[in-house]
Symmetry: C2
Subunit: 101 residues, 2 copies
């Protein structure tokens, strides 16, 4: 099974970018103990503080899906949902490069 | 100086996605020896094989700019230019997460 990569583009409700980024950073904290997660980096757009981008790289799609199903991640998703105006996943096929083991 | 992160979204000329990705992978190879470069991952969009995304993370903006100025990178840019229909940098402020030292 090939590696799974994506950018998660989150548009927060007006003025909620910081709060949403905080929750996504908690998700990043949770991912530290997940072997299949190689990258989970939270970024804010330089042009819009209510647009949050998450850079994700996983050993495979199953590792990503399992992470989303676990209880702690579900609790975070529940807290984040009211802060989110829109989500746009940019699905990628990683080819290689620096930082890609 | 804070870390510099961006996604480079490249739209290749029709049918030139693979060729463009190949040149960007050469740039990734060059970045291996560049201390200030932490991530340079080349991805192809799952939805469009002529859209190539590069995930970049640098120690600071100066390291990124210096890389682009060097001769080898300039040679690659020269080779890539005819293959590129459009470039859209997504400029980011990285906040933290897994894979962000």
């Amino acid at each position: 099974m090939s590696k799974f990569a994506m950018y998660g583009k989150f548009k927060a409700q007006p003025g909620q970018g910081d709060a949403l980024a905080g929750i996504l950073l908690e998700a990043a904290e949770q991912s530290e103990s997940v072997a299949g997660c190689e990258l989970y980096i939270v970024n804010v757009s330089e042009e819009d503080s209510d647009t949050i981008w998450v850079t994700e790289l996983w050993s495979d799609a199953e590792a990503h899906d399992a992470f989303l199903r676990n209880e702690d991640a579900q609790a975070l998703i529940g807290r984040a949902r009211p802060l989110i105006a829109g989500v746009e996943p940019v699905k990628l096929r990683p080819l290689g490069g620096k930082g890609f083991r």
